[in-house]
Symmetry: C2
Subunit: 492 residues, 2 copies
């Protein structure tokens, strides 16, 4: 095999990097912390984006586009938001380079081209958008505004990981404006449901819906709802967030509307987003030591067909049959690649497509042709079947559905087995160090306790699950009374 | 009417701004030279993007994504490209803001967070992409690379216009790598044809395919091919460009490949792009003094239905019929909006949808219901017809095709009438000042003459048409010999 992957057991973190790089999803770039999303990785993102975009439109949202830059005076208007993002933002200060007189052929910043006001490269767009909404909203008739934006954003993180944490990333950010608090909260919850639906039913990653503790809230939000997923190393990953922003941004940007009784009030806001980080979650939730495992519903290529032949004559015969097969599969809307290139041998191709996580591989040899059969291998379980060519397209269609379900169920079983209750500190710490996963425990509700637990164990409160039941208990750290269990975990 | 538009005759430039703003395509923003693309404008861009994206994929291209930032040392590597863009680039110099001790509640750039190397916000991505391709290309087997990117770019233009020239704009940029010069030139020409196909057959804007004079070439290109369109004020607009880059970027970034004989050579390159500027072209090519006129094939809404009723009982009856109609139209893939809102009167709605350029408007009143008819008005010619409800969806389908064709033919007739030959200087200047359009004239082939003509008349060489015939003549300015006519025009 040409491409060696580090095993999960050996080095989980290196395993992940190997998959991303050797699976052709992304590449490092010359810019610190920024990545190149390669065509195969981008095709995966396109599939994810297209499904989400359809979901947003089906729930009444429209896309729009707002500037990349946020003038400093707008950036600082909502204080908590500004404080949250000021420490990690890229700042444009000049609008021109000029020849460097001391180094021929080199350029330097032209000191005469200094901007009067610095521009922040958007880390998130609440500020620029709410400054715009001010001009769009006068009356309740202008509400709701249900807008989404697909964009790049920049957060100058110090420690970066491909997809999981990059200085620049792609995402969508919904920004909605409402006439009432109730309507805004309903929107926040609705979009959380959309995210959960997408991540579970398309990405095949089970999630827990919950609300963040105040410490983990989005800077500027009244409440942050989230979906939390579990990776194979027992660490949690926040897969999407939906924020109820209250009237914070409306107040910061003075956005008021007159209601039906002609009374003025500030507008209520939400924002919600998912990013290319989801690709990191996808990789870590399903893949194995031989490469990626992609769920059929979003895989860029669902089926690959590899011919096995000796000589041009055999190849020509198989080509004819394979093209028929491609046509039948495409007729059912299945994306398929026929790889009859002479550059590499079947064994190499098998390993390559295993690495890339293509859900179904079909191999056709000369004898298969004679027997009117084809070998079908599924990527997830590695099971192989010899299947008759007659009606093979329907067999594959059903198989793809089975694989989707199987991948989800496997991840869900693992996840469910890794939600463990802890009722005392030793058990709590022990579980984190040995088993990992989510620890369901009582917490006294204070930021201080949360902070102390984080310092001592690196575990954070991932969420207070929406379906959490009232239950009298004692805080895992302080022993103070608590009425509900929350989920702790170490997280990406 | 609630929204007044300046007429073209009165002030063409203001007419254009009125259409963009009042037609709800875009809005000014708080960032100098940057615009907000509003949902209606963005839906138009999405339709354009989706068609182009399909065309790119059908010609073998894949999408990818490269970083927003270009480190200065990469930016300056290809000298001509750097020189061309250095004067108008946004530069990131710092990665953090901090509290301003002298102004509570305000932020300032943190001088301790200065980047070691400045980052240019990409004005175009050749540099960052060719630096990446270096790692992807070793042998002829790695070629061709046929990659496209949909992205935002920033060029710090001093004088900006909504869509036509903005500091930040959205575009696509294709970047391909080839093993031979011939193949790269073939790709350059193929993508020019794709652009011409799109602009003519989807946007209904006729274009002239040509090649730029050296003065007007893309910085770093060996040859720039272009499509040129004509606006209603007689000014030309460059609608798309496709560049043959030779080995310039391969040499600047040391990208070599070994050919079949194992000989090393530099890789051949192309790049090609169209941007949101196309929306400006679309607006100016077709619209009239009552608002936008959008070609049906890319209009966000193709048909609007307005009910005309008195009282809730009539409204309820018309609603039923209109929903049937909506269903029939959608069944044929026609996008349709039924506006039965009570907020505004039919007359206001008519004006609003005229402003927004919706190709077909249908009005249904109580008497129409009785007679089983509907009033159908087309936006382009403003003709109205009373049409039977039976089979109305097929009537509308055909009408949309007719409108698409009519808009194109109208623009083409105007364009063809505005290509005028000039064989002496006076005629040339006179034509520019009175009739406008393209002036077909001889030019001695020197950059100096081109520059002088530009200084004296503000006209530039738009292109040397690909179908230009050899013809002995004399340069319009210098009288020196010339063998082919080129097209001059004042341009956006």
């Amino acid at each position: 095999m040409s491409k060696e992957i580090t095993s999960r057991e050996q080095d989980y973190s290196q395993w992940y990097n190997d998959l991303v790089l050797k699976g052709d999803l992304a590449d490092y770039s010359a810019v610190r912390g920024c990545m190149v999303i390669k065509p195969y990785g981008f095709a995966l993102w396109e599939n994810m984006r297209d499904v989400l975009d359809r979901m947003f439109k089906d729930t009444g949202h429209q896309n729009a586009y707002f500037p990349l830059f946020v003038p400093k005076s707008l950036f600082e208007a909502e204080e908590k938001n500004a404080e949250g993002f000021a420490k990690e933002c890229a700042v444009v200060t000049h609008y021109r380079l000029k020849n460097d007189p001391s180094q021929p052929g080199k350029l330097m910043v032209d000191p005469e081209a200094k901007l009067e006001e610095e521009l922040v490269v958007r880390p998130t767009s609440e500020a620029i958008i709410w400054n715009t909404y001010k001009g769009w909203i006068q009356s309740y008739r202008d509400l709701p505004i249900l807008v989404n934006q697909w964009a790049n954003v920049v957060r100058w993180e110090m420690r970066t990981r491909l997809f999981l944490r990059t200085a620049e990333f792609l995402w969508q950010e919904g920004h909605t404006a409402h006439a009432s608090k109730e309507e805004a909260i309903e929107e926040t919850r609705k979009m959380l449901d959309v995210y959960a639906d997408f991540v579970e039913n398309w990405m095949a990653v089970p999630v827990i819906k919950g609300v963040k503790s105040p410490n983990e809230r989005f800077a500027g939000a009244e409440d942050t709802y989230c979906i939390e997923a579990l990776m194979q190393d027992g660490k949690a990953l926040q897969a999407g967030t939906s924020h109820f922003l209250g009237q914070n941004f409306a107040k910061a940007f003075d956005v008021k509307f007159s209601d039906k009784e002609n009374k003025l009030d500030y507008v209520w806001a939400t924002s919600w987003g998912v990013s290319t980080r989801l690709i990191g979650a996808l990789v870590m939730a399903h893949s194995d030591d031989d490469g990626l495992i992609l769920p059929p519903k979003i895989a860029p290529i669902q089926v690959v067909i590899v011919p096995i032949y000796k000589g041009d004559e055999q190849k020509a015969l198989i080509d004819v049959k394979a093209h028929e097969l491609v046509k039948k599969l495409k007729g059912l809307g299945i994306s398929v690649k026929y790889d009859n290139s002479d550059n590499s041998r079947p064994g190499w191709k098998f390993a390559e497509y295993e690495m890339k996580g293509i859900p179904v591989r079909m191999a056709i040899g000369a004898r298969d042709m004679q027997n009117n059969v084809v070998e079908v291998a599924r990527r997830d379980t590695k099971e192989k079947q010899t299947v008759s060519m007659d009606g093979i397209e329907f067999y594959v269609q059903t198989l793809l559905e089975e694989i989707q379900l199987h991948i989800y169920n496997k991840a869900k079983t693992y996840r469910d087995e890794h939600i463990t209750k802890a009722d005392d500190w030793n058990t709590f710490v022990n579980l984190l160090d040995t088993k990992g996963g989510f620890i369901s425990a009582h917490w006294d509700g204070t930021a201080e306790t949360e902070e102390q637990i984080k310092e001592q164990t690196k575990a954070t409160i991932r969420c207070i699950p929406l379906d959490a039941k009232e239950e009298a208990g004692k805080c895992i750290l302080t022993g103070k009374p608590s009425s509900v269990r929350v989920l702790f975990a170490r997280a990406y």
